[in-house]
Point group: C2
Chain length 358, copies 2
């Protein structure tokens, strides 16, 4: 760590440190979620999210075909919209390319993006192509949400159930199998393909939104709001009784970020975290939990909502979705084992991803 501020370099403070320093240039009410929110006309909000992906850092031809790199980049941005409750309107793509890149590589990248986007009826509405010494992909996705249905990280209240919308750890397992095929010798081909597919073709959970709006009938909404008003003071009573984000940086990161933003804690039941079935006969429980908590890129939603709504949501979502914990009044996120084979563990972000690290 360099103590002379004027010569401090980006690598000295890391990606998160720099983002924090740059937040002073942004209006504080706009940032802090998976995407920014701007009210455009009364009652309607625009949700905007942006990602930059660099060859060799975020994708590589070794583990990822251009089609898969395209799919994954589109899916990651759509997932950010889903995490905010927003329906996608479109995306823009900024490309930096060395002159030596094959045109067919770029077309295959766009093919993969389009395959993902078409599934969610999202058009590519524009872009820029420029010369660059390194292949760089900058995606901005924007969506629309009824202003009363914005899902924020900061809205969790004590007593909420924590719902995860699908299994965790599959994407990381798939990546490991691509990098080290020998790890998969105890798996059959179908099992390997399923995990690798989870890494290459993650599904943004936009399908969860209509289910959420369905279970939030005026009646359940009012009940939940009344309950929240009794229970907590930090959820404004006109807000949606749901907090959430996606698990793009891992399940642990998602729960910790929600708790930080909401000023609450959580208990996560380690045996309630939905894992790929394959993990049972392939990984130790520690390894399986490490993939699920810190692996990242599963692009599931992590939602905190009143118990009755959580039960309804899990029932609608079916297999894979589960109530994996609850929000507490503590300031920590605890990983708890109801079978008491492991002692309680405090989860922390330092085990998660940190780019620029020395």
């Amino acid at each position: 760590m360099n103590s002379d501020l004027s010569s401090q370099q980006v690598k000295d403070i890391g990606e998160q440190g720099l983002l924090k320093r740059l937040q002073r240039f942004c209006p504080p009410e706009i940032i802090g979620d998976d995407a920014a929110v701007l009210e455009t006309v009364p009652g309607q909000s625009l949700v905007v999210t942006t990602d930059v992906l660099v060859d060799g850092v975020h994708f590589s031809n070794f583990t990822t075909s251009p089609e898969d790199a395209g799919w994954r980049s589109a899916a990651a941005n759509l997932s950010d919209l889903a995490a905010m409750g927003a329906s996608p309107l479109g995306i823009t793509i900024g490309l930096g390319l060395p002159g030596e890149v094959k045109v067919s590589w770029v077309e295959r990248l766009y093919q993969g993006m389009t395959e993902c986007l078409q599934k969610y009826k999202t058009p590519i509405v524009g872009g820029d192509v420029v010369r660059s010494p390194v292949t760089t992909l900058a995606i901005t996705a924007f969506g629309q949400v009824n202003s009363s249905q914005i899902i924020r990280r900061s809205a969790a209240v004590v007593g909420d159930a924590i719902v995860v919308t699908g299994v965790h750890g599959a994407s990381r397992a798939g990546l490991e199998l691509l990098l080290h095929p020998e790890l998969g010798e105890n798996l059959n081909n179908e099992e390997k393909t399923t995990l690798i597919r989870a890494h290459q073709r993650p599904q943004p959970r936009l399908d969860v939104l209509p289910i959420l709006w369905k279970i939030l009938t005026p009646n359940s909404f009012t009940n939940a709001i009344n309950q929240s008003c009794t229970d907590a003071i930090n959820r404004v009573c006109t807000q949606l009784p749901i907090a959430g984000m996606d698990s793009s940086d891992g399940l642990a990161d998602a729960i910790i970020q929600i708790c930080r933003a909401s000023g609450v804690g959580a208990v996560l039941e380690c045996r309630q975290i939905p894992l790929p079935k394959t993990f049972n006969h392939w990984l130790t429980q520690e390894q399986a939990l490490a993939y699920a908590l810190y692996g990242g890129e599963d692009f599931e939603l992590v939602l905190c909502l009143p118990q009755e709504l959580a039960l309804a949501l899990v029932q609608y979502l079916g297999e894979g979705a589960a109530i994996a914990g609850r929000i507490t009044a503590k300031s920590t996120v605890i990983l708890h084992d109801e079978q008491k084979k492991f002692p309680d563990q405090v989860l922390s972000l330092s085990q998660g991803f940190q780019h620029f690290g020395q």
Copy 2:
């Protein structure tokens, strides 16, 4: 030029060639202007534009301070919104940075962006920071426009006057002075500073929009529409009687692009193109015209509209704005000299910017 399609590289077809190839992935009705347009609620449209800037290609520490690089990148995107008639809502910034970049450099970049954005009340609403071997800046700007006031390239009709909102060539002259200070020996310091400032701190012409809406009174609007309906079949009569774009790639490029999109031609009067006063005693007329037509980055607006509206607009805008030509039924854009010192010249894009070129 490589004839084997499968091994064709980006440099073989260039930036524009690649963009054209990628357009098949975009809905045709959305593209073709300075920014994409999406109707979000009836009567209101969202306008989105994106730019990628790469260190050493689009900016360099040699001619541009980080503050100026920030200002210019923000101004370029706001100019695209102005060109569509849209008021800015916000921008997102994606940054790719080598770990060795100084934190103070990034903060100075943001300082410059913020200075420009604040002038136009535009918030930075989010972003991404990632590790990259080359400093890369991806900006996406969002704006809003009444759907009946969208300015498109394709709406020019025969007989329209071509209005330019300010002088052209200043930005390119400023860049030349930065690169080759010896060129400025016939200029005094104030003259040099004015030209260099035009390059470093271009002003997006968002100020033109309220003037446009003012001259488009219901009366003038109806008159113009009636005139258009008599004159031409290619402007739908409910549309705004104005075509336009910004002159970020030079005045010639702007007029050619408008003519192509509208299926018309134009005559540009070379003595009516507003030039910086300094050019009179500093450059030959050929050099001055080359800077104005092909220099680029002046970020003025080029608007085609009925003569009576054009006269009103130029009067409101005052010094610098001028009617520089008219739209014709031909398929070419002709540079004409009313003093007949030069023969008519057909303007072409091949003299303009083309990146990736071999």
